[in-house]
Symmetry: C2
């Protein structure tokens, strides 16, 4: 029985490590997507676009493994909840990868121009930095179950929301002279960064709940 | 044993019925949100916004029930997969509710004006009709496991994508004279309808896979 428990524990640790790996892939994707976007780097954009398939495959394999563990080990109560939560976290992380992929596609569409006009480069750069910081922290939160860091992510998300608002303010200020197509790009980009952070917060809240049994104060 | 199996089967049927109920709530939400948007009806927008909480609560209760069934019945193979798939479908349906809620919030924000200028009313009306048709069909697909109808949803989604493209074409045609704030509204609305349909297709593909063991041809 001790042996079975130990194999099971190893399997749970393996799931956790795979989620950390997914977070690492997503962070790299986001960093590259933002760089491709700001500097109109076509080859980097293409890298992110093809890496998304790897992220999807990695997630599908992880999900199959989790379902297989549930079927074989028939875990109850807290272990079952942890495995179901792992499925949800992998879905959030996969979606974060999709959003980096969307950003890279905007970069590719506008190449050789940058989709981001000069006056918004610094805001988008900061949104990219906050997004990368958030997904790095998500990896650490999954690995260490650090609930203080999980709470920090709520603040990071507030920072993202505030950057997003300032982006929309520039677009709607009346002095916007970059045209409607560019406003559409910026609107969608703003949404992608914001949703990326939302999914990261969702992952960190799930960890917080698993560890404490309580919902994180929003 | 026959009795246990029968209780279990009843529980599975109950899960399926709850997913159908969720699809019905989401369809109603989408219909009302579109009406609120096109006709600048504040009270209808408020109804959708407060109904979203009901949808979220319904989904959380359903998810708890599903996890409880897995814990008690310890299903293997196909039954376990069906229950995990039910969790994913409930997440998709909940997200469809969120997107209706987002549409209603745009309607509320622009009240007493309509957020949709006259020249785009017909396109958005059709997008709303396609969205409602899709989520109605999703309910039927879950209830009847009709794989032909599941495939129909792919075509409906193509129709949505084409409407979405025509929306963006109007915005970027150069003759757009409604200003950037209105272009931002329309960009986000287009995205909400498109994502709503994507999640519906995701649900119908999950049903298709459960029934046939194969991925739906895209």
């Amino acid at each position: 029985m001790a042996l079975i428990r130990s194999v099971f524990q190893e399997e749970l640790d393996g799931v956790s490590q795979s989620l950390v790996d997914l977070a690492t892939m997503v962070t790299e994707s986001m960093q590259k997507a933002t760089s491709a976007l700001l500097n109109a780097e076509l080859s980097i954009a293409e890298e992110v676009i093809s890496a998304d398939e790897k992220i999807d495959t990695y997630q599908h394999e992880l999900d199959s493994r989790i379902i297989d563990i549930i079927a074989r080990q028939q875990p109850v109560a807290s272990d079952l909840r942890a495995l179901i939560t792992a499925l949800r976290m992998s879905a959030d992380l996969e979606r974060m990868g999709d959003l980096s992929h969307h950003i890279a596609k905007v970069a590719r569409l506008r190449h050789p121009e940058s989709a981001v006009p000069q006056e918004l480069q610094s805001t988008i750069r900061t949104m990219g930095e906050v997004a990368s910081k958030i997904s790095e922290k998500v990896g650490t939160v999954i690995e260490t179950r650090n609930t203080l860091m999980a709470l920090e992510l709520e603040k990071d998300d507030d920072e993202m929301d505030s950057l997003h608002r300032s982006l929309i303010t520039v677009l709607t200020s009346g002095s916007w002279d970059k045209g409607v197509p560019s406003a559409i790009d910026i609107t969608l980009l703003g949404r992608y960064y914001e949703r990326f952070a939302d999914h990261a917060v969702s992952v960190s809240r799930r960890v917080y709940f698993l560890v404490t049994g309580e919902f994180a104060p929003a």
